[in-house]
Assembly symmetry: C3
Homo-oligomer: 256 residues x 3
């Protein structure tokens, strides 16, 4: 491969998290047979997991896990649970269904730091891999790099496995992305330089240009989130330099 | 659920119509097993139904109906039939294949009111659920609210089950949507205030922001059309408030 | 059908090439059962074919071929092989896996004319259908119609079956398309008038408006590339005039 050093599963970097907006069982099986080796986390987007019939949900979770992929319900669902003061019940139900990871986010609600800590700790204690998320979903809310850095360190110190940088499903007008979905380079660099080890971050980057920029910036083993299930192989080709965009970048770095 | 009162099937409001641009039998089965409870109408988009092999079309129709979902061919097909003066033949063929609904539209052709009435009446008489459609597909054509209101009342009086407000597959520069796909609020309110019961309308709203605005405006049981099959579960999450966008709106309405 | 004269398979014009970004075996089977009659070439996009397990790749190739569809790996892969001076090895491996066609492109690398000729000739000699491609993937590179015409004639004289006009997966800011994906009409006409027989060209046209314009310009049997697998039936409806956009164009041509 033109871009070497891509890590294999189970890996601690180069993670790919997909967002599932409603794949049927057959499609899920098909996807995992083809590309299961390139998927690390499987997120049932938004609160969709509440919309499955129980046995179908269990079967899907079982199927995903059998391919060595972690699976978890979208963060908005946990936010609703916290709002309704049902955190423990939520975590217990998630464990009973077979989910292996939990996302702790405050994309929509205002989550005081102590409640955030409580949620992370409770999920870690129950044996979940915890992915926390930083950044608001609403473009009108601020995205202060200093606050973000504090939050990242806070969450990791409590046992979060990774911290997701909010990019939404659209990748536009949120967090580090401007209205057109372009990366705001100055914010990116400020964030990266304030974080000790950027491999703890998972970048939600649904748009190809975002994936491309981040691969060129961080290399093939950068972590991605909110990847469209149908784009997993295309992303992998981008990672290893088998797609024009990253191939060209490699060629330009080499002496002619 | 944060947003309560979502109606179950069979329901008279909160309908979801999907547009199928060519799902295979396996994918169709997969989708219906997962989300059949959230789908009310299954439209074979454009004239695609003419492109199936006959036994595959029959099998697909049978499959969709077995999940309690109405199925019909896209309206453009009927427009072609009317152009060719083959309305009766078209309806008979549709019935023989097993379609349960018919769309009567004039998105492309000029359809005099008497021919429109004839088509609706003939389809109703043959036992079809009739969905008529208002609004032209061409952005250069006018969308006069007063005319639209007259047409809606005309169609309903002839037995149309619902009237679809044209949004096309793209949701942009058509009907109530401007070039960017934003709802033109003044037109929307004028239309709604002139119609006795807005639950008779099905809004073609392929874009998430459109769905979100209409849910916030009309509640979870608003009727949607031209939904991408892969977005049915995501739309349902939006309806019941399990997705950030509608959840936030609910939170803001509550006293803090 | 409103637009007559659509050719059936095997055909020499009206070809449809799809770009596969990672369809599973089940999805592939499903697609071919439904729409195999409307697909002529099946491209495993980018370098994704390198990311399959060997037996899954063989099974997929076998499946596609059993429906009378040619299959080939994306051109970027060959460019990498040429860069690494492994052309022969690449072609032999491709033949052993069962690929029936080869794309010779220089979308990313600088490919001297003699190496281009060597690649085309070698692939033709090994029995592949050769699709060469003109146009750079990078919007900053020039697209000189005169050069393009020379290249088209060059490739055809060496035995290329068709020449693809680069449109990328996005259809924007590349070749004949401007930043918004609109066809640059003057370039199109200059190109068409300089080529003896435009049916030798395959237009990469991933966006519906592009497909529509080219069908209106060249008729239903124009050749298309980079079609999304889920859009094959929709494209076919557009070709035969069963979709509003081309239907309207036909109606306007007829005397009222």
């Amino acid at each position: 491969f033109p871009l070497g050093n891509r890590m294999n599963k189970p890996r601690t970097a180069g993670l790919t998290m997909i967002i599932d907006k409603g794949l049927g069982l057959g499609e899920t099986r098909d996807l995992l047979n083809l590309a299961g080796g390139y998927i690390d986390f499987f997120k049932l987007g938004f609160g969709t997991s509440a919309l499955y019939e129980n046995n179908m949900l269990e079967e899907k979770i079982h199927l995903v896990r059998s391919h060595g992929v972690d699976i978890y319900p979208g963060g908005t669902f946990l936010e609703v649970a916290i709002l309704q003061d049902k955190l423990k019940q939520y975590l217990t139900t998630a464990r009973d269904f077979g989910f292996t990871a939990i996302e702790v986010s405050d994309g929509t609600i205002d989550l005081p730091l102590d409640l955030r800590a409580e949620a992370i700790t409770a999920a870690v204690d129950m044996g979940f891999k915890v992915l926390s998320e930083v950044g608001k979903k609403d473009p009108n809310d601020d995205f202060e790099i200093k606050e973000i850095v504090q939050l990242v360190n806070h969450d990791l110190s409590l046992g979060a496995a990774h911290v997701i940088v909010e990019g939404r499903e659209s990748g536009k007008a949120v967090g580090l992305y401007d209205k057109e979905g372009n990366l705001i380079q100055s914010d990116l660099e400020e964030l990266v330089h304030s974080i000790g080890d950027p491999t703890c971050l998972i970048w939600e980057a649904p748009i190809k240009d975002q994936q491309q920029e981040l691969i060129i910036r961080f290399g093939p083993n950068v972590n991605f989130g909110n990847i469209n299930p149908h784009e997993v192989l295309a992303l992998e080709a981008l990672r290893v330099g088998l797609r024009a965009d990253t191939l060209k970048a490699i060629l330009q770095k080499k002496p002619k």
